[in-house]
C-alpha cells in the first residue's frame, strides 16, 4: 500500500470542502495531479496544492492507496466522502461529513469529528478516537435510508440523532450519547457503552440498541420482556430486553410481530 501525505501549508479563511480527498480520487495519480485536484471555499474553486503540500505516492487503485492528513483538519468538510476502498488517517480533528456515503475502506480520525459523520454509510469502517457530533451514521435530510452497512466506532461521546433512519451496520460508542438514538431505524445495531439521555429508539421498527449505562427517560412504547445473558463487543452480562416502539408499525414474520429490541445492561 502506498501513502500520500497532505501537510497543510495555509489555513483557509472559510471552511474547505475537500470531497476530492479520497483514495478513489488519488489512485493512479502523480503528486502533481493530486495537487491539481479542486477543493472549494464557498463559491470559489482552488487547487488542492494551494492549501496542502502533497508528498509520497498514490497506489494504482483505491485499495492500494493510503492518505495521511497532517495537522489540524477541523475546517475540512467531506473528508473521505463516497470512498470505496483504501485508507485515510486524519491526525487532527475533522469537520462535518467525514466518511459520508462511504462504501468501503477505512477512515481513522485521531481527534474529534463534527456532525453528519458517516451519513448514508454503506460499508467500510470509521474509527474516531475523540468525540462525534450529531447525526452520526444518520440519513441525509429527507432520505429514508440512513446507515446501510459498515462499522462506526467512537471512542468518546456522540451527539444527538445517532443512527437516524439506520437500516444496517453497527455503531459503537464508548462514551455517552445525547437524545434520539436510532429514531425510525429499521435495522442495524447500536451499542452505547456509556449513558443515554432520552428518546432512545423512538419510532423504531426493527434493529437492536444496547445501552450499558443508564437511560434517563424511557419512551412509553417500550415493553419489558425478559432478562437474558448476552455477549456484546467482548463483554458478557445480564441485559433486560425491552421491545418496541409499540406506537410504530411493525412487520410480521411467521405470524409474529417483529419489534425493535432495546437491551439495557443490569
Amino acid at each position: 500500500m502506498n501513502t500520500v501525505t497532505l501537510t497543510p501549508k495555509k489555513q483557509s479563511d472559510l471552511y474547505l470542502e475537500v470531497n476530492n480527498i479520497t483514495p478513489d480520487m488519488f489512485a493512479g495519480k502523480s503528486t502533481e495531479q493530486i495537487a491539481a485536484l479542486p477543493v472549494y471555499v464557498g463559491n470559489t474553486e482552488h487547487p488542492l496544492g494551494e492549501f496542502f503540500t502533497v508528498t509520497g505516492a498514490a497506489g494504482a487503485s483505491a485499495a492500494e492507496t493510503r492518505i495521511v492528513i497532517k495537522g489540524d483538519s477541523s475546517r475540512l468538510k467531506y473528508i473521505g466522502m463516497k470512498m470505496t476502498a483504501g485508507e485515510i488517517e486524519v491526525e487532527g480533528s475533522a469537520d462535518q461529513y467525514v466518511g459520508g456515503w462511504m462504501a468501503g475502506g477505512k477512515i481513522h480520525v485521531q481527534g474529534n469529528v463534527q456532525a453528519f459523520a458517516g451519513v448514508g454509510m454503506r460499508g467500510g469502517e470509521l474509527l474516531v478516537d475523540g468525540n462525534a457530533g450529531d447525526y452520526l451514521g444518520a440519513a441525509y435530510r429527507g432520505d429514508w435510508r440512513g446507515m446501510q452497512g459498515g462499522k462506526i466506532y467512537i471512542k468518546g461521546n456522540a451527539g444527538s440523532d445517532l443512527g437516524y433512519f439506520m437500516n444496517g451496520g453497527t455503531i459503537v460508542v464508548d462514551g455517552d450519547v445525547d437524545v434520539f438514538v436510532g429514531t425510525h431505524a429499521e435495522g442495524g445495531t447500536i451499542i452505547i457503552k456509556g449513558n443515554a439521555k432520552s428518546k432512545v429508539g423512538g419510532q423504531m421498527v426493527q434493529g437492536e440498541i444496547y445501552v450499558f449505562g443508564t437511560i434517563d427517560v424511557m419512551l412509553p412504547g417500550y415493553i419489558y420482556r425478559q432478562e437474558l445473558e448476552k455477549e456484546v463487543e467482548g463483554m458478557k452480562g445480564k441485559f433486560a430486553l425491552f421491545e418496541g416502539d409499540t406506537a410504530e408499525r411493525h412487520p410480521k414474520r411467521k405470524g409474529q410481530l417483529q419489534y425493535a429490541k432495546l437491551y439495557l445492561k443490569q
Partner: protein
C-alpha cells in the same frame, strides 16, 4: 372627504386576515383608521405612518453613527458586497412578497449565496419532518366549516395569532359547525397555562421537553397498547381518554407552534405529531397544520421550493442547490464562521438569533433591508429602508395553509422610498454586471 378601502389583507401573521377595512385621507397618503384588525395588525398599519421613520439608506460610520446615503450608493455597496463574497448569506424574506423573494433568489444564484428564511428559527423543523413522513393537511376554510376536534399543541394563538380562533378554529359558525365553539372540543397541550389553555375543554400540562413522549404515548394508546402509569407528567388514564376524544370527532385538526418545533425534540416532535395524525385517519378525518408566524414565511418556502427544490437553508455556493439544516442553516453558518457577508431582508435576526450569531453579523460586511429600525439594522453596516409590503405596495403572500392571497396597497410610500422589489431589481442588474452574467 376620507375614503374607506375594504377587503384589505393584513400583513402581520400567517393568518393573513382578508377582511380589514382601512380609512385613508383624501390624498391617499395617510392612514386614519383601521377596522377589524387585531391589536398587532392595527399597530402595523399605523406604524407605516410613524414620523421618525427612516426614508433614505443609512451607512454605519467608524464611530457607530449613521450617515444618510443615496439609494444608488446603497445598491452599489450591496452589489459589491455580494459579488465579492465567497459565501454570502441572504437571510429573511418572510415579511416581503413572493415577487421580491423571486428576484432575491436570482441574485443568490448569480453570486453563489446561501438563501435562508426565518423558518430556520421557526417552523423549519416542521419542514424537515414533512420531508421524512409527509403531511396530511387542509385549508383554514375546511377547519372553520368542518372541524369539531381542535388541538393546540405548544402554541398560544390568543397572543400570537389573535384572530385565528375567531375566524377559523374555535368560535366561527361554519357549514357543519353551526353552533360555533359549542360544536367543537378544544384540547390544549402546553407546559404552561396560557390564555389559549383557559378556553380548553381538555388541557394537558405536559412536562417541559417531553412532547415527543406524550405524542408517542397518544399513538400507543390509539393502538390499544400498554402504557406506563405516567407519561410526561400525565396519568395514563387521561392519555387513553384523550385518544378516545380525538377518535370520536368527525373532523380533527392539530395546530402546533414554536413550543414543539423549537424545544427538545424539534423535528421529531412534528414527525410524531404527523404520525399521530396519520394514525387518527384510521378512525376519522384528521389534519395537521403549523401555525406559521410571519405573514409570508410560507410563501418564502413555496418560492424557494419551486425554484430550487428545498424550502429553506438552500446553499447555492457550489452552483447547485444543497440543503441540510445543521450545515446550511443561518445560525450554524454564523456561529461556525462559514459565511463572509450577510444580507438580511424583511426579518430581524438581530432580535432572535443567539448573541454569538448576532456578533458575527456585526463583524461582517452586512446589509439590512427593512422599513423599521430594528436590532438587525443597528448591527448592520448598511440599512436600506423600503416600503411596507401589504400597506404601501401589493404583492403575493401565502397564508399558513398554503393558500396564496394577493395583498393590497392602501397608501403611497413616502416620496422616493423604493419597494423591496425595486431595490432588489437594481441590485440584480448591478450584480449581473459585476459577475459578467448576461442580463
Amino acid at each position: 372627504m376620507t375614503k374607506t378601502i375594504t377587503d384589505v389583507i393584513c400583513p402581520f401573521c400567517g393568518t393573513l386576515c382578508d377582511d380589514i377595512e382601512v380609512t385613508v385621507s383624501d390624498d391617499g397618503k395617510k392612514i386614519l383608521e383601521v377596522f377589524n384588525a387585531c391589536a398587532i395588525g392595527n399597530e402595523k398599519f399605523h406604524h407605516a405612518m410613524a414620523k421618525d421613520r427612516p426614508v433614505r439608506p443609512r451607512m454605519q460610520q467608524a464611530d457607530g453613527t449613521y450617515k444618510e446615503v443615496s439609494y444608488d450608493e446603497a445598491v452599489e455597496y450591496t452589489a459589491q458586497m455580494l459579488a465579492n463574497a465567497k459565501k454570502p448569506l441572504m437571510y429573511g424574506w418572510s415579511s416581503t412578497n413572493c415577487e421580491a423573494q423571486s428576484i432575491g433568489h436570482e441574485i443568490a444564484e448569480a453570486v453563489g449565496a446561501v438563501v435562508d428564511n426565518t423558518a430556520a428559527v421557526c417552523h423549519g423543523t416542521t419542514l424537515i419532518a414533512v420531508q421524512d413522513v409527509g403531511i396530511p393537511s387542509c385549508t383554514l376554510g375546511e377547519i372553520k366549516n368542518r372541524a369539531d376536534r381542535i388541538l393546540f399543541w405548544g402554541c398560544n394563538p390568543a397572543h400570537a395569532h389573535p384572530r385565528h380562533m375567531s375566524r377559523y378554529s374555535i368560535f366561527p359558525r361554519g357549514f357543519f359547525t353551526g353552533k360555533g365553539s359549542q360544536s367543537r372540543k378544544l384540547i390544549v397541550v402546553d407546559p404552561r397555562h396560557s390564555d389559549t389553555s383557559k378556553l380548553a375543554d381538555v388541557y394537558y400540562q405536559v412536562e417541559q421537553g417531553r412532547d415527543y413522549e406524550l405524542l408517542q404515548a397518544f399513538r400507543t394508546a390509539l393502538k390499544g397498547e400498554w402504557l406506563p402509569d405516567v407519561v410526561a407528567g400525565i396519568p395514563k388514564e387521561r392519555i387513553y381518554e384523550g385518544a378516545e376524544l380525538m377518535k370520536s370527532g368527525r373532523f380533527g385538526i392539530i395546530f402546533f407552534g414554536m413550543g414543539v418545533t423549537q424545544t427538545l425534540g424539534k423535528n421529531h416532535n412534528i414527525d410524531a405529531a404527523i404520525s399521530l395524525t396519520k394514525d387518527l385517519n384510521e378512525y376519522t378525518k384528521f389534519s395537521i397544520m403549523p401555525m406559521r408566524g410571519h405573514y409570508n414565511v410560507t410563501g418564502s418556502g413555496e418560492v424557494l421550493a419551486w425554484q430550487f427544490g428545498f424550502p429553506y437553508s438552500v446553499d447555492l455556493s457550489r452552483g447547485y442547490a444543497r440543503y441540510n439544516p445543521g450545515d446550511t442553516s443561518s445560525i450554524d453558518l454564523l456561529i461556525r464562521g462559514e459565511v463572509d457577508s450577510v444580507f438580511t431582508i424583511a426579518s430581524d435576526p438581530g432580535a432572535h438569533f443567539p448573541i454569538s450569531a448576532v456578533k458575527r453579523i456585526a463583524s461582517l460586511p452586512s446589509v439590512a433591508v427593512d422599513p423599521h429600525i430594528t436590532p438587525t439594522t443597528e448591527v448592520s453596516k448598511l440599512h436600506v429602508p423600503v416600503a411596507f409590503v401589504g400597506i404601501e405596495v401589493g404583492g403575493n403572500a401565502y397564508r399558513m395553509d398554503n393558500v396564496p392571497i394577493d395583498t393590497r396597497k392602501v397608501v403611497d410610500p413616502p416620496e422616493g422610498v423604493l419597494t423591496d422589489e425595486q431595490f432588489l431589481e437594481r441590485v440584480l442588474i448591478r450584480v449581473k454586471e459585476l459577475k459578467g452574467v448576461k442580463a
